[in-house]
Amino acid sequence: MLSETNTLSFPIINSQTTLFFLIAITLLIIVTITALTLGRYYIQPSHVIGILFENLALHNTAGVNDIERRVVELIRLPRVLLSLVAGAGLGMAGAALQSLFRNPLVGPDILGISPGAAFGGALAIMLFGTSVATVTGAFIFGLLAIVVVIVVAKSGVGTTTLTLVLSGVVVGAFFSALVSLVIFMADVESELPSILYWLLGSFASANFNKLLLMSVTVVVGGLVLFGLRYTLNVLTLGDQEAASLGINVVRIRWLTLAAVTIIVAASVAVAGVIGWIGLIVPHIARMFVGPDHKYLLTAAALIGAIALILVDTICRSLTAAEIPLSIVTAIAGAPVFILVLRRTIGMR
C-alpha cells in the first residue's frame, strides 16, 4: 500500500474559484455600466461613470448634460439596480431550492409562490389599479401561497420533501386557475392589458421604493441562506441521511423556505413572474464553483444579477416597444439550459 502521508491543507479557496469570482465581479460592473449607457437615448460610458461618481467629486463631469443626468439617475439606475438585485435573489433562491429538493430541475416556481403572487398582483390590478397595491397584493399572496402549501403538506404522515413538492404543484395549479379567473373577469379595455403585461414580467415600472423592497428581502433572505450554507450541503444527501448525521432537518427546511419565499414573492411583486433565472443560473454556477454552497450561493447571485441585467437590457433596447421579460428569459433560457444539461451530463 502507498504510504499514507497527507499533503492536504485547509482549503481557504482554490485558485480556479478565486479567478471565477474576480471575472464575475468585473463582468457585473461592466454589464451594469453598459446597461446604463444603452437604451433609446445613448449615453457615453464616461458620462455614466461621471454621473455615478458625481456626488463623491471623484470624477470629471464635464460634458454631462441635465437630460443625461436625469435619464441615468431617475430612469435607468433604479431599473438596472432592481434587475441586479432581483437576479441575485432569484439565483440564490434557485440554488437553495435545488439542494433542498435534491433535484437539479426545480426552480422557484415549484412551491406555488409565483402563481400565488401572480394572483395577488393580478387581483390588485383589477381591484385597485395602483402600483403600490399590486406590489403589496403580490407579496402577501406569495406568502399566503407558501403557508397553504405547508398546511397541505403537513396533513398526512408528517411533512416530507415529496409531500411538499406535491402540495406545491397542487397549490400552484389552484392559484394559476384563479389568475385565469381574474383575467376572464377583467375589463378588456383597461385592466386586461395591464394584468397580462404585468404577468409577463417587466422592470419598466422600477423605482426606488421597489428597489428598497427587493433589496431588503434579498439581503435578509440571502443572509439566512448564506448562514445555512454548510447545512444546505448536508441536506442534499436527503432528509433521512441528513437527520442521521445529526441535523435538525425540519428547522433547516423551514428556514430555507422562508428565505426563498420572501425573495421570490418580492421579485414577483416588483417585476411580475420571471421564469428560468432561478432554474438555470444555479447550474451555471455549479459548473464553475462546484456544489459547495459556500461558493455556490455567491456565484449564483453574481451570475443571476448579470443574467437579469442582460435580459432586461435586451427587453428595453432591442425594439421600439418593450419586450416582456419572460419571453426573453424563456427564448434565451431554453437553449442555454440544454447546453448546460448536455455539459453536466457529459461530465458524468
Binding site: P11, T231, S244, G290, R348
Partner: protein, 253 residues
C-alpha cells in the same frame, strides 16, 4: 454499556409486527452483528437507533452522537470525497456554522485511517461501490461518535472489496470503536463479531455471544436452509468456515 435496547417492537401502520420483544446491549469496543433474513427489520432497527424512525414500543438508551454508514447513498451533486467526510462533522457544528480547520484535520485523519487520503479530491459519485463504502466509513469515523452503525456494509461488493471493508472494521475495533452492523452473511459475524443479534420473522429474537449463538442448528433454522460449519486447520491458523451450499445440487434437481 454504549447501547441498551429493551423490548423494542416495530410495525408499519396496518401491518404485522416486524419485530417485537427485542432486547440487546452493546458494550464499549465491541462489534455486534445483526443477522436475519431479508425484510425482518434490520434496517428499520438501525433507523430507530438513529432516531429517524420511532419505535412503536420499547426503550433505547444510547449515545446522542451516532455515526451511520448507509447501505447505499445516491447524491445529486458532485461533492468531493473530502467534502463528504467533512459532513460527518456536522453534528459538532451549529446551524449557521461551517467546518473549521480542526474539523478538516479530523476528516483528513479519518481518510488516512482507512487508507483513502489519496481519494480526497475525487468526486464521490464517480467512485466504485467499495470505495464509496470506505468513504462513508471515514465519514462515520470523522463524526467521533461513541457508536458506529453500518447497514449491510458489504452488500453488493465484490470479494476483494468485501475483505477490504471487513479489514477496516477489524482495525476500527482494535482502535476501540464500538460497532453495530447488520449483515446478510453469517460468516462476517463468525469472523469479526463478539456478539450477535438474531432477528427472526416469528418474533422470538436471540442475543448473545457470537460463538454461542452461531451454531449450525440456529443458523439453519434462521435462514431455513441447511448450514454447517467446519474448522479448517492449517499450520498457521485455524478458521471456521460455513458450508452454506451444502447439498445444493441435490436440492436443485
Amino acid at each position: 454499556m454504549v447501547l441498551k435496547v429493551t423490548n423494542a417492537g416495530f410495525h408499519y401502520s396496518n401491518s404485522e409486527w416486524l419485530f417485537r420483544n427485542l432486547s440487546f446491549q452493546v458494550r464499549e469496543g465491541e462489534l455486534c452483528a445483526i443477522l436475519g433474513p431479508n425484510g425482518c427489520g434490520k434496517s428499520t432497527l438501525l433507523k430507530a437507533l438513529l432516531h429517524v424512525q420511532p419505535l412503536i414500543e420499547g426503550q433505547i438508551k444510547g449515545p446522542e452522537r451516532i455515526g451511520h454508514v448507509p447501505q447505499q447513498l445516491e447524491i445529486p451533486f458532485d461533492f468531493k470525497v473530502i467534502d463528504m467526510v467533512l459532513m460527518g462533522r456536522v453534528s459538532h457544528l451549529g446551524t449557521f456554522a461551517t467546518p473549521t480547520k480542526k474539523d478538516y484535520e479530523v476528516a483528513v485523519k479519518a481518510l488516512n485511517e482507512i487508507g483513502m487520503a489519496y481519494f480526497s479530491d475525487r468526486i464521490f459519485k464517480s467512485l466504485s461501490g467499495g470505495e464509496r463504502q470506505l468513504v462513508l466509513i471515514a465519514r462515520a469515523i470523522a463524526g467521533e461518535s461513541d457508536l458506529i452503525l453500518l447497514d449491510e456494509p458489504t452488500a453488493s461488493l465484490d470479494l476483494a472489496n468485501e475483505i477490504k471493508v471487513l479489514n477496516v472494521l477489524q482495525k476500527l475495533k482494535k482502535n476501540g470503536v464500538t460497532i453495530l452492523m447488520t449483515t446478510h452473511d453469517p460468516e462476517h459475524a463468525f469472523h469479526i463479531a463478539e456478539t450477535v443479534l438474531l432477528i427472526k420473522p416469528i418474533g422470538n429474537c436471540q442475543f448473545g455471544l457470537a460463538k454461542e449463538i452461531l451454531t449450525d442448528s440456529i443458523l439453519s433454522e434462521l435462514y431455513n436452509v441447511p448450514i454447517r460449519s467446519i474448522k479448517v486447520v492449517s499450520p498457521e491458523e485455524s478458521v471456521t468456515v460455513l458450508i452454506k451450499y451444502d447439498g445444493i445440487r441435490e436440492r436443485m434437481r
